[in-house]
């Protein structure tokens, strides 16, 4: 031991072993004090909640819109596909051959064959059609195929299948049914990106709002912070009430955002129902569920605490005591 010569004095101020209960007590006290402070300044707190709420409501609302666009796409009868119409005199054998050929493609999920007789039967249900056909005197409907795109395939894969179909014998016309769906997918992509950009910007806004509010709270309690530093409070203890500030502001803001979105849904539901009814689809705005609420609250909590940390770090470090 002589090598290490110098007597190392025992630590006269050991880090006290703090029990979990004392730590929890400290948290409870901080939370209660902060809650008291927030409720005493209810007007200011309400303003912060509204600001954070509005900042969160827009990206969250866009997220919901995107979810609904995607579910509209999924709920629509039939995924994108192509219809092949044969010439009236086409051989049933060539219809079958093309059906098999298309079915063997990886991008095609299934192929439905519609014989001319079947088409006529389906068609006769419509008013006036029966009379028209009687006048013509023969079945004017050709045999057709409908190939449905496999769920994992891209819309672009339809083009390959369409080229194949156009070269087959007896084919009159190939119709690729993708345009409106492509538009919808483009739209949901656009909404996704818009939500990401706005989410980033408004999330930053929420962080800055809470940071500013917590900064004000710190300023109004500087004297307390000084005393706490003087009597040996740790940085964590000094920061704690302000982190609760951020948490309360963030959670309150998320609740406001949830209310705003609920209100917005109530307002847009009637026209939305009329619109979807005209497309013969029974669609409802969905996604506003406990899971969504949980995520919204979690994001609010996180952003609020991030803002509080930012403010506490900036202000408390440089604080001159006494």
């Amino acid at each position: 031991m002589a090598l290490f010569g110098a007597r190392k004095p025992r630590d006269p101020w050991p880090r006290p072993r703090r029990q979990l209960t004392s730590w929890l007590r400290d948290h409870r006290r901080s939370a209660a004090e902060t809650l008291g402070f927030v409720s005493r300044r209810f007007g200011t707190s309400l303003l912060v909640w509204l600001l954070v709420g509005i900042a969160l409501a827009l990206p969250a609302g866009l997220y919901l819109a995107r979810e609904n666009l995607i579910s509209v796409g999924a709920a629509w009868e039939g995924r994108p596909g192509l219809s092949v119409y044969f010439q009236l005199d086409a051989e049933p054998a060539s219809v079958k051959a093309l059906a098999r050929q298309l079915d063997s493609l990886a991008s095609i999920e299934r192929v439905d064959q519609v014989a001319p007789e079947q088409a006529l039967k389906d068609f006769q249900g419509f008013a006036g059609v029966a009379e028209a056909i009687e006048i013509i005197g023969r079945n004017p409907l050709p045999a057709s195929l409908r190939a449905v795109l496999a769920p994992e395939a891209a819309v672009g894969d339809l083009e390959g299948a369409a080229r194949l179909a156009r070269k087959a014998a007896g084919v009159e016309e190939v119709v690729v049914e993708k345009t409106w769906l492509e538009r919808l997918l483009d739209l949901s992509d656009l909404v996704t990106r818009l939500a990401l950009i706005l989410g980033g910007l408004f999330g930053l806004g929420a962080v800055l709002i809470t940071a500013t509010s917590v900064r004000l709270a710190i300023e109004s309690r500087l004297e307390e912070v000084r005393v706490l530093k003087l009597v040996g409070a740790t940085e964590a203890q000094i920061r704690r009430p302000f982190l609760y500030f951020g948490a309360f502001y963030g959670l309150g803001g998320a609740l406001v955002a949830a209310m705003l979105i609920a209100l917005a849904l109530l307002v847009i539901e009637p026209p939305l129902t009329r619109l979807t009814a005209s497309y013969e689809a029974d669609l409802k705005a969905e996604g506003f569920d406990p899971m969504f609420l949980g995520i919204l609250l979690g994001v609010g909590l996180f952003l609020g605490m991030a803002g509080a940390r930012l403010a506490a770090r900036a202000r408390l470090r440089s604080l001159d005591v006494a």
């Binding site: 004095p9 006269p12 004392s22 005393v227 009597v231 040996g232 006494a322």
Partner: protein, 240 residues
């Protein structure tokens, strides 16, 4: 616990002002000392250095043989929990009752609420303010506020008690009472250092007096005789 050594401590502020010039002083554990000198002589700087609110430009400050001016930010709070500090403008929180003000250091140290109640009442009894524990500081007189500050400083039973002009704006009678109060704490083993410019009061106390001028020690009188603690004295006891 409570042995303090200043070893050639200098403090120069960024504006060039030299608040302390190579000050070397020894304070035995359990001693009582008055620090005097005109304003700007370095008394407050001395106490702020001891509280680690400032770091010395040169030299070191040993408390129980540990260089406290080199303590990490993580360990500093635990050192400060062993100090009690009283200021002229007492730093009481206006929106908390007398009780809650005194309880602050105890809550920081993680004490149970029922023990806190006992300690706070004991401290308030010492400064004779138990009857006013529910009042807000603003409803108390200046002398009473100062005593609340003292109760807060001693509530966690510090090894070292520091006071910066604790009687600054009190009348002579109150000032004397406050000084006697400090002596009571000293008599139970607390190292007490009081900065004050009240010459008459200090001289009447019959304790060690250190006078500073322009950051240097110009007088160190100890009526108890000689050096307060020999340099080879045991550094600190194993426990309080």
């Amino acid at each position: 616990m409570g042995h303090i050594q200043f070893q050639q401590v200098s403090k120069r502020f960024p504006n060039g002002q030299e608040a302390l010039r190579s000050v070397s002083l020894n304070f035995a554990a359990g001693s009582m000392t008055f620090l005097t000198g005109h304003s700007g002589a370095g008394k407050s700087t001395f106490l702020r250095l001891l509280l680690c609110l400032e770091r010395p430009s040169r030299g070191q400050i040993l408390v129980n043989e540990v260089n406290v001016s080199a303590l990490s930010a993580r360990r500093l709070p635990h050192y400060r929990q062993n100090l009690g500090a009283v200021f002229q403008d007492h730093h009481l929180l206006a929106d908390r009752s007398v009780f809650d003000n005194v309880a602050i250091p105890l809550r920081v140290s993680g004490m149970l609420e029922r023990d806190i109640g006992r300690r706070v009442r004991a401290a308030l009894t010492r400064v004779e303010l138990l009857s006013k524990e529910r009042q807000l500081p603003a409803s108390l007189s200046t002398g009473e506020q100062q005593r609340v500050g003292i109760a807060r400083a001693v509530a966690c039973r510090p090894k070292i008690l520091l006071a910066d002009e604790p009687t600054g704006n009190l009348d002579p009678k109150l000032s004397r009472d406050i000084m006697y109060l400090f002596r009571q704490f000293n008599q139970v083993g607390t190292t007490v250092i009081i900065a004050s410019h009240d010459h008459d009061l200090i001289e009447s106390m019959g304790e060690r007096v250190i006078e500073l001028r322009d950051g240097a020690v110009i007088r160190d009188d100890d009526p108890a005789g000689g050096v307060a603690i020999p340099p080879s004295a045991p550094a600190y006891q194993a426990d309080d």
